[in-house]
């Protein structure tokens, strides 16, 4: 094809591709470069080799953040998906107007920005004014400082997280439920299968690909959790992570090193380390999928 015929095509994709190259491809490459340098954003970058990576891995904050992240991910992802699956099955068991009503009600928290969910819950958890402590008070129990007690902080975050994300996953699972052919249930009913058996032997296996997506996507976003713990702990770039760093997570640690410590090279290296962890985990998920023969 002559260039004159092709030119319009390239002109039409040019705005997207140029912005994509400048604000996505270039940052990744420059980030890789910075990750091997000491840089405060002003003076000339100074080559360090792998020193940034080494410094991060050996730092105490990194160990704390990773430990918190591991507990958080291990609880919040399975719990969130289970709750979402339960909600989807519950909504699916209603028909018509009520199915719509419950679906919308459960989805409502997703509509709120994450920063808002975190700030509302910060007050629900508050020691004096908070709703939760008021309810605890009715039962005569001692008030709990949920967001300042290292024993409860992580679980307080997980509760907010499930509250926000369950509705999102529910919608995706509901869409998956709709794609399961009705004949399958019909056949199972004729064979005398009860509701529970139908769910275990038809619904869950048929939802395989959807559940895989929900879990994988949930893992990837949970590993980058930022807004919620940041706001629940009232963090700023100079002081973050909450009491005894009980709500310190990798992205928070990275942002702190960049904007609190003005060590951009180190922060860039942190991003790559975290991405490596995410890529490995995602690869493991896909490997597991192939092994088990889902989808």
């Amino acid at each position: 094809m002559p260039l004159r015929r092709l030119l319009p095509h390239y002109l039409m994709i040019a705005p997207f591709m140029i912005l994509f190259a400048v604000f996505f491809l270039y940052p990744i490459l420059s980030g890789l470069y910075y990750s091997f340098h000491a840089w405060n954003g002003v003076t000339k970058p100074e080559y360090l080799g792998f020193a940034n990576y080494q410094k991060i891995v050996l730092s105490r904050d990194f160990a704390t953040a990773m430990r918190n992240l591991l507990t958080y991910v291990a609880i919040t992802v399975p719990l969130g998906v289970l709750v979402a699956l339960g909600l989807a099955l519950l909504v699916d068991s209603f028909v018509g107007r009520w199915a719509n009503f419950f679906r919308n009600a459960y989805f409502m928290p997703v509509v709120l920005p994450a920063f808002l969910a975190a700030t509302i819950w910060r007050w629900i958890y508050a020691p004096n004014f908070g709703l939760l402590n008021m309810i605890i008070g009715w039962f005569g129990a001692q008030s709990i400082n949920f967001l300042n007690d290292t024993g409860t902080m992580l679980y307080a975050l997980i509760a907010v997280d499930v509250w926000v994300s369950a509705g999102f996953n529910m919608i995706i699972i509901l869409a998956g439920l709709k794609e399961i052919p009705a004949e399958l249930y019909e056949a199972a009913r004729l064979d005398g299968a009860n509701k529970r058996q139908q769910i275990v032997h038809i619904t869950i296996p048929m939802l395989g690909p959807v559940l895989f997506f929900v879990v994988t996507y949930g893992l990837i976003s949970a590993m980058q959790v930022f807004d919620k713990p940041w706001l629940l702990t009232g963090s700023s770039f100079t002081s973050y992570g909450g009491r005894r760093n009980a709500l310190l997570f990798p992205v928070m640690d990275m942002m702190g090193r960049a904007f609190g410590g003005v060590r951009f090279g180190e922060a860039a290296a942190y991003g790559f380390l975290l991405t490596l962890a995410i890529v490995l985990l995602t690869a493991a998920m896909f490997g597991l999928r192939r092994l088990k023969g889902w989808a």
Binding site: H9, S30, T119, I172, G176, W230
Partner: protein, 281 residues
């Protein structure tokens, strides 16, 4: 027969009870936020537990105060502008590219589209710091440009629009071409109107995302003149803030109104858009 009947009704009662309890858990925090705003400030929780709104005038007064005594209104306008400009840019730039990727053959098409789709797998954690550094080098910190432009090449948006553009019949494009329509005219008069649904869905999802974006404005906008609603809400909540719970909750409520309103109007589109990203992704 009776046993069968009673078993079904027990199950039905339990199901309804569960559904209603979950509804309460999902909605109560939002309801509570409204009640805190619409109650007299300073009333102790033991007297007024904020289970329902008790004083409408007090709420109105709080809203008036927050708009007149703080910079909240300014932040609100910044957030709206940020969202609107992002929507306009994402739709225009994305649909131009999607039109080509979905409907035409040209050298490099598969490779370019593949690279963009691959970027969907790259976590934000790795790009945010270098993108900030680039924005800073361009001198775009504390500007609307800095907020909007880096987010315009949305790979998710392109993916979604390409899915819809593929459904545009090739015959219609050929017919338009025979009628003498130019490439751009075909895009504008044939392809775009046929994708109106997808564009509306993408606009809504982009609005939700931009209005709720906390991290990017936090690092790009360091001066109060460019603060977004998210940042102001965050500052009101910070331990050093002098704001009372009444002011904080009023700020929260006002920040919640646009997305809630959008959801009530466009609930079907939002739900479909999210379901699509999951099942076709």
């Amino acid at each position: 027969m009776t046993a069968q009947f009673s078993r079904i009704s027990v199950w039905t009662v339990l199901k309804w009870a569960l559904a209603l309890v979950v509804t309460a858990i999902a909605l109560f925090p939002i309801w509570w936020m409204i009640n805190v705003v619409f109650s007299l400030p300073g009333e102790p929780v033991s007297i007024n537990p904020r289970l329902w709104p008790t004083s409408i005038p007090a709420g109105v007064e709080k809203i008036r105060l927050i708009f007149t005594e703080t910079d909240y209104l300014h932040a609100y306008c910044i957030s709206l502008l940020y969202a609107l400009l992002t929507i306009a840019g994402v739709l225009l730039i994305g649909s131009l590219a999607a039109f080509e990727f979905a409907l035409f053959e040209f050298p490099g098409r598969g490779l370019l589209f593949g690279v963009v789709m691959l970027s969907l797998m790259v976590p934000t954690a790795v790009t945010i710091i270098p993108t900030y550094l680039l924005t800073s080098q361009l001198g775009w910190l504390n500007t609307m440009r800095g907020l909007v432009v880096p987010g315009l090449a949305s790979a998710f948006g392109l993916f979604m629009l390409v899915q819809f553009m593929r459904a545009v019949p090739k015959d219609m494009i050929e017919a338009a071409r025979l009628d003498g329509a130019s490439h751009v005219q075909i895009y504008w008069h044939v392809a775009l109107p046929l994708c109106r649904n997808a564009l509306v869905t993408l606009a809504i999802l982009t609005f939700m995302q931009t209005w709720g974006n906390y991290m990017w404005p936090l690092i790009v906008g360091t001066k109060p003149a460019i603060y977004t609603v998210g940042q102001v809400v965050g500052l009101f909540n910070s331990p050093l803030s002098h704001q009372t719970v009444d002011m904080v909750m009023t700020a929260n409520l006002l920040a919640a109104i646009p997305p809630l309103l959008f959801f009530l109007i466009f609930q079907r589109k939002i739900v479909e858009g999210i379901a699509m990203s999951g099942t076709k992704g």
